[in-house]
């Protein structure tokens, strides 16, 4: 087999193109190569008469690479023998078992017994690295993927290697719990069972789970995730690499905030005045309750595009004058004109981050900025009153305006020497209410014009962009003064409310004493789509069934519309809602073309398909 690749392509990557597997531990396509584990040994000619690491050697004209000669295979088997010296062989109780490259490679290459009878290293196991992550040092093969990820990708060193040589071990700094919001990715990265999730501990095996690719529901970035289920339970969430958005990383919110889906407290049946009721009775009570009153509706941040569209119709029709508020929304207006897509941060020569703590509000965009700066050489300018993790970069140019004076500070950047060379990416948030957002936006637009840059408004709520697309949840709206409220998600009833309907998946203290309670479906069950901060529409794929009496939000909204006598509310299914929405709302045009419900299976995390 022969293959032609761009100059500088590493042998491991070239081999992938012709579907030849080169086993790796330390190599990862998103991390700089180090050549630490020596598992990728191959024989090359012309070249030295000894095995060479495929992960650090670039392909060259006329190079012949052999992966299956006795020399190469034997070398790998020897390396594996060393990797296993301290390994406790506890695969039967290891959560990695079944998707573990160490297991697979050993099965294929390994010697049946070890010739090494040196004393083994023993460690206490497992050690909690944080509330969510456990570390088993005896299983670690010291590939340093985890610490390199921390250092290279997140710019932090709270995960580190202590000691040296055979005595090296991975540890958190001074054994303190990890604090980063990006910590969970090391679970996916670890090629063995050394780093495992404490949330998904001894829950199931990879082979007895079903999984679908879906979209994260926790913020406006819209990272792609894989949802894993076993016996009607959502048991874990992992990344589903999408290079246009997340590059295979997700934040800890996306990874670990799913346990409410399986909560024993899940609301399943509607309640009227605290007693179980049918949907029929509950919706009647709701409609009676809001009838003739000043209505306020609180929306959860992860409301779908379809639900937003239907709600828009209700608010255009019978629920005119209803006020609508959205969880976690920023004060930013809809963008004017083209915005900068996340993936184009990679090509920026300079990046300006304004009035937003990206690590907190849009975590994975933060990682993309860091990559553009530390790996691709972009200049970084920050305008923010506080100390941010972006300051870790020694050359960050940080302007610290007083709160409220950010717009001024942005204008002063016009003509700055770091912005001479484009393309320039300008990311801006709303300063969490401290800024006059219109003035700030205007300053950002002016700056963009002056330096020939493109802007990226950093919305916070998952589907804020979708809500803005249907003109719901305007900036000033809060529910104060409404005397009937529908609280969908974690909203608090205003003091003025005389009728409260709560619509949520689990009971919440702030919903205490609601007149009507409706159970809601979660991101793991509902069909629909989100629009991320770039304006990209992405479809959810339900991994769990909607078991009656649970109903999806769009379905309930349709019934409310019908009961209120609206025409054309009897959609036959969500596809009809999507088709209509795609025609009615410009932003939702992609809804006309939903992807096939059963996608290609997610590639396995490691091993042949995704080394």
């Amino acid at each position: 087999m022969s293959v032609t690749v761009p100059r500088g392509t590493l042998l491991v990557e070239a081999a992938k193109l012709v579907k030849v597997e080169v086993p790796v531990f330390c190599y990862h396509h998103k991390l700089d190569p180090v050549g630490a584990c020596r598992l990728c040994l191959v024989e090359i000619s012309p070249g030295p008469p000894k095995p060479t690491t495929a992960c650090t050697t670039p392909a060259a004209e006329g190079m012949v690479v052999k992966t299956d000669t006795p020399l190469a295979v034997g070398a790998r088997a020897d390396i594996l023998e060393y990797e296993l010296v301290n390994h406790p062989l506890d695969c039967p109780v290891c959560d990695k078992g079944g998707e573990c490259p160490l297991q697979d490679y050993t099965f294929r290459h390994g010697y049946p017994t070890s010739r090494i009878d040196a004393p083994r290293l023993h460690f206490k196991k497992p050690i909690p690295l944080s509330e969510k992550i456990a570390l088993d040092r005896e299983r670690c093969v010291l590939c340093y993927r985890c610490t390199r990820y921390y250092d290279e990708i997140t710019w932090s060193q709270e995960l580190t290697t202590d000691e040296r040589g055979v005595h090296s071990y991975i540890t958190s700094q001074f054994d303190q719990p990890l604090k980063s919001v990006f910590s969970g990715n090391i679970i996916d990265l670890c090629p063995v069972g050394a780093l495992t999730s404490r949330v998904w501990r001894f829950e199931s095996r990879p082979w007895d789970m079903d999984h679908v690719p879906s979209v994260c529901s926790r913020c406006a970035v819209g990272c792609n995730v894989t949802l894993w289920k076993r016996r009607h339970q959502l048991v874990r969430v992992t990344s589903h690499e999408n290079d246009e958005i997340d590059e295979g990383w997700i934040c800890d919110r996306g990874r670990f905030e799913y346990t409410h889906v399986n909560s024993p407290d899940r609301l399943k049946v509607p309640l009227v005045a605290g007693a179980e009721a049918t949907w029929e009775a509950a919706l009647t009570a709701l409609l009676e309750g809001v009838q003739g009153r000043k209505l306020g509706i609180f929306l959860p941040q992860d409301i779908t595009n379809e639900e937003l569209f239907l709600l828009r119709r209700l608010v255009d029709g019978p629920w005119q004058d209803a006020r609508v508020a959205l969880e976690r929304r920023t004060l930013l207006a809809p963008p004017q004109g083209e915005t900068l897509p996340i993936k184009d941060l990679d090509g920026c020569k300079a990046i300006v981050v304004i009035a937003c703590d990206t690590a907190d509000d849009v975590p994975i965009v933060n990682l993309r900025v860091k990559k553009a700066v530390s790996k691709l050489g972009a200049k970084l300018l920050v305008v923010h009153p506080g100390h941010l993790d972006l300051d870790r970069w020694p050359d960050t140019f940080h302007v610290r305006p007083n709160p409220g004076e950010t717009a001024e500070a942005v204008r002063r950047l016009i003509g700055h020497e770091l912005l001479q060379e484009g393309p320039v990416g300008i990311l801006y948030g709303d300063g969490h209410g401290a800024e006059d957002v219109d003035a700030l936006t205007q300053a950002v637009v002016d700056l963009a014009e002056a330096v020939g840059g493109r802007v990226m408004p950093l919305y916070r709520a998952t589907n804020e962009r979708g809500a803005l697309g249907v003109r719901l949840a305007g900036r000033q709206e809060d529910l104060e003064g409404c005397d009937a409220v529908i609280l969908w998600g974690p909203g608090r009833p205003p003091a003025s409310a005389r009728f409260v309907a709560a619509w949520d998946s689990v009971p919440r203290p702030e919903h205490e004493g609601a007149d009507v309670v409706l159970p809601s479906a979660t991101f793991a069950e509902t069909q629909g789509s989100y629009t991320n901060l770039e304006g990209r529409v992405q479809f959810l794929r339900p991994v769990l069934p909607v078991t009656p009496p649970l109903r999806e939000g769009w379905d309930v909204l349709c019934e409310l519309g019908q009961r209120l006598g609206m025409p054309d509310m009897d959609y036959l299914g969500i596809f009809h809602v999507q088709r209509q929405a795609s025609r009615a709302v410009e932003l939702f045009a992609p809804l006309a073309d939903p992807p096939a419900p059963v996608p290609n299976p997610t590639p396995v995390l490691y091993g042949p398909a995704r080394p």
Partner: protein, 198 residues
């Protein structure tokens, strides 16, 4: 409260411009800290990290990597006795046993009751031709005999354990030839050894 003195902090602050990467300054910075405190406390490592705008984790990783950086208290006078092959063959362990007896400790890493002494075995220090040898107060001491060791211990006791008195770091750097290999390619000679031991 700060773990390091004003002076040490100033010294560390002056380091980064001398290196292409700020991380290269970690090692000299830790050296400054250890010189001041005798060993590296968590607080000291954290402070070094803050001064260099790194996470303490990185500093911890470096500090645990090197044998010459101590994470536990050591005596004011610390013997690094080489017990690698050449030195072992020439009686390094007898020297170790002798030192232990003299300073009154049972094992490596233990600090003598008066806090003055401790000893540690280290791998080859690159001066095999003068085995057995050790590093003591930033200098190499060659062709060790119990008598030579006794003289050093006695001298240390005499001056009351003032480390600076018999080998201040700056003075060592300024006035001593570097230990180990010399600028000429022939390596240390008996003369050097005598001079350094003087």
């Amino acid at each position: 409260m700060a773990a390091l003195s004003e002076h040490a902090i100033e010294e560390i602050r002056a380091l980064p411009p001398r290196f292409p990467h700020i991380r290269s300054a970690v090692l000299p910075a830790l050296d400054v800290a250890q010189d001041e405190l005798g060993y590296l406390t968590r607080e000291a490592m954290t402070e070094v990290a803050e001064l260099l705008d790194l996470d303490p984790g990185y500093v911890e990783g470096v500090a645990t990597f090197y044998t010459l950086l101590h994470l536990e208290p050591i005596g004011k006078h610390h013997f690094y006795v080489c017990t690698n092959l050449s030195c072992d063959l020439r009686g390094a362990y007898e020297i170790c046993d002798h030192i232990k007896r003299r300073i009154g400790v049972e094992g490596f890493g233990e600090v003598s009751a008066d806090g003055l002494f401790s000893l540690e075995e280290v791998e080859c220090l690159g001066a095999c031709e003068f085995a057995p040898m050790m590093r003591y107060q930033r200098r190499y001491h060659y062709d060790l005999t119990p008598e030579k060791v006794d003289a050093l211990i006695e001298a240390a006791r005499q001056n009351g354990g003032d480390r600076a008195a018999d080998s201040p770091r700056d003075a060592a750097a300024a006035s001593q030839k570097p230990p180990g290999r010399r600028a000429s390619s022939r390596g240390p000679t008996k003369e050097d050894s005598a001079e350094l031991n003087a």
